[in-house]
């Protein structure tokens, strides 16, 4: 009963906020709705009993990725009129992408549900008493180790690529040398002079 109510509330919020992501006029509002969508999706994961995935979704997407989205979008100076003019010219491409996604979703759904409407279990259910963090760990680090490592490698390459693209060594930029700052001694920085009255340093 409670779970049903929770499901419908979360599902409605998720659908509405997902729609608001593309319909909101202000890009910052779009990102905020996107965050809400992620968050409600995490709630749906919890209802499905996948609390580990839910927490990962919140930590990785909401807590880190979306913060950077928001960070970038807030700093953009967006011209709304120009944005709307471009809408029609991008429409066909957007439609093609949407159709392709719909087709793929249909494929996945038809693979997951058999002809009589019963869902097909893709992964075997875990035996009782194993929490789902352990269950994921046992599958991820054994059967799918290679895929897992390759995903890590791809992300690593992307990260290095981003650094290489943005790293410029400009000449003449003054940088701090922390080791030199910390390694300074009193004898190098302070000099005591004995000054006679009325003579000055001369």
């Amino acid at each position: 009963m409670l779970a049903t109510i929770a499901f419908y509330v979360l599902a409605v919020i998720a659908v509405i906020s997902a729609f608001a992501v593309i319909s909101a006029r202000n890009p910052v509002h779009s990102v905020l709705f996107l965050i809400l969508t992620f968050f409600t999706a995490a709630g749906l994961f919890v209802l499905l009993g996948a609390e580990f995935l839910a927490m990962l979704l919140v930590i990785v997407y909401v807590g880190a990725v979306a913060v950077l989205f928001l960070f970038v979008v807030m700093m953009l100076d967006v011209d709304f009129v120009e944005l709307k003019q471009g809408f029609l010219s991008y429409m066909p491409i957007g439609a093609i992408v949407a159709l392709a996604l719909l087709f793929e979703l249909g494929l996945v759904a038809s693979a997951a549900i058999s002809a009589d409407g019963a869902p097909i279990a893709i992964a075997p259910a875990q035996p009782g008493g194993v929490t789902n963090a352990e269950a994921i760990g046992q599958v991820l680090y054994t059967d799918y180790l290679l895929v897992f490592q390759m995903a890590g490698l791809v992300l690593f390459v992307a990260m290095i690529g981003a650094i290489v693209l943005t790293l410029r060594h400009r000449p003449g930029v003054r940088k701090q040398n922390i080791a030199a700052q910390v390694g300074r001694k009193r004898s190098e920085g302070v000099e005591l002079k004995d000054i006679r009255p009325g003579q000055g340093l001369g």
Partner: protein, 368 residues
């Protein structure tokens, strides 16, 4: 007296509703307790700060100024809410609410004593981490919605700072998880039940497994210190309070806030600090267990937990009083160039310990 079998209750509630009402009662109780404690923690913070500077601090309202926080509360609540004309109204109002609500949400998974917890989640520590990483939204939204330069700069600083320190906090949490082999907070605390030598911060005193205790002890004590410093940065406390550095940004993201919304920001911020104290406590300092042995009585356990939180809050207050503020580049340098590699190395070291050196009990739990 034998139970009366004819007894018919006035209202029969389905078991789910009874459970819901019981949980709501617990939530209400803990929230009220937190708010009242917070009033005195705020005063304590100011008193410690004053004592370090040889001042008296608030001492007018009530005996020793004990009612100062309540007076401040009424002052804030009865002031007028000012919303800047250029502000994005919805987001402007939403930001302090998010900070406030999230600060309370985290406490749902915190076990206060043996069995005293609202939701004993399997992934409790991840939940706490997730909620504390959401805290940045209140600040960045408030900074943006104010539509003004200082708040915006404060919001950006805070976003970069909190995202940076989350990374090292994550790795530090992983070292503890490796030692315990569970994500459940109650299990994490119970792994430290035997006494101070089993607390993760002080494993060096566990001479029973010499010489491995030196490795674990040194690494985990370093992790305790790093977690504490990262917690300072994550909660925007001095010396890392650059998002609200008054000498550069007036008051950072809070510049345009007044009255109740400001109060919500402040309560949220302090509750997050207390939540961080609780996290240090659960992960490294034995939770509700006493230094000399296990405590299974919920009341005594609660008292010990409470006292430990106050001691850690005292440390937070002392740091605020005696450490000068960092420069922003120094803050980023510590986070990315020192804390990240060190905590990563600690994860490797603890992984090696659990796999090769640990006594069988932990090794089995860790290997699963």
């Amino acid at each position: 007296m034998t139970p009366n079998m004819d007894y018919v209750p006035l209202i029969t509630l389905p078991i789910e509703w009874e459970w819901t009402i019981m949980k709501l009662g617990q939530i209400l109780g803990i929230s009220v307790l937190l708010l009242i404690s917070l009033a005195f923690l705020l005063l304590f913070d100011r008193k410690v700060w004053a004592a370090v500077q040889l001042r008296k601090g608030p001492n007018v309202v009530g005996p020793f100024g004990l009612l100062q926080s309540f007076a401040d509360f009424f002052k804030f609540v009865f002031k007028e809410i000012v919303i800047p004309a250029g502000a994005n109204k919805t987001v402007f109002i939403l930001a302090p609410l998010i900070t406030f609500v999230l600060a309370f949400t985290g406490w749902a998974a915190v076990p206060f004593a043996n069995g005293v917890v609202i939701a004993d989640l399997n992934v409790g520590i991840l939940y706490l981490f997730a909620i504390s990483s959401l805290g940045v939204y209140g600040i960045i939204m408030g900074g943006w919605a104010s539509n003004s330069k200082y708040p915006f700069l404060g919001g950006l600083r805070s976003a970069a700072q909190m995202v940076s320190y989350e990374v090292s906090i994550g790795f530090i949490i992983i070292t503890v998880l490796l030692l315990v082999g569970s994500l459940n907070l109650t299990t994490i605390v119970d792994a430290q039940r035997d006494g101070i030598w089993m607390w993760h911060g002080f494993r060096i005193f566990n001479f029973a497994e010499f010489p491995a205790n030196i490795l674990v002890g040194v690494v985990m004590f370093a992790m305790l210190v790093m977690f504490f410093i990262s917690a300072l940065a994550e909660t925007n406390r001095p010396p890392f309070d650059l998002p609200e550095a008054e000498s550069e940004l007036v008051a950072g993201y809070q510049v345009e806030y007044s009255s109740t919304p400001y109060l919500l920001f402040m309560i949220g911020e302090y509750l997050n600090i207390v939540l961080m104290c609780a996290m240090v406590n659960l992960l490294f300092l034995g939770g509700w267990h006493a230094p000399w042995g296990p405590v299974d009585n919920p009341w005594l356990g609660f008292l010990i937990f409470y006292v430990k939180i106050w001691i850690q809050f005292f440390l937070f207050a002392m740091v605020k009083a005696i450490v000068p503020r960092y420069r922003y580049d120094q803050l980023m340098r510590i986070g990315w160039k020192i804390f990240l590699p060190t905590s990563l190395a600690a994860v490797v070291a603890m992984g090696a310990y659990v796999t090769f050196l640990a006594p069988t009990a932990t090794a089995v739990a860790g290997a699963q």
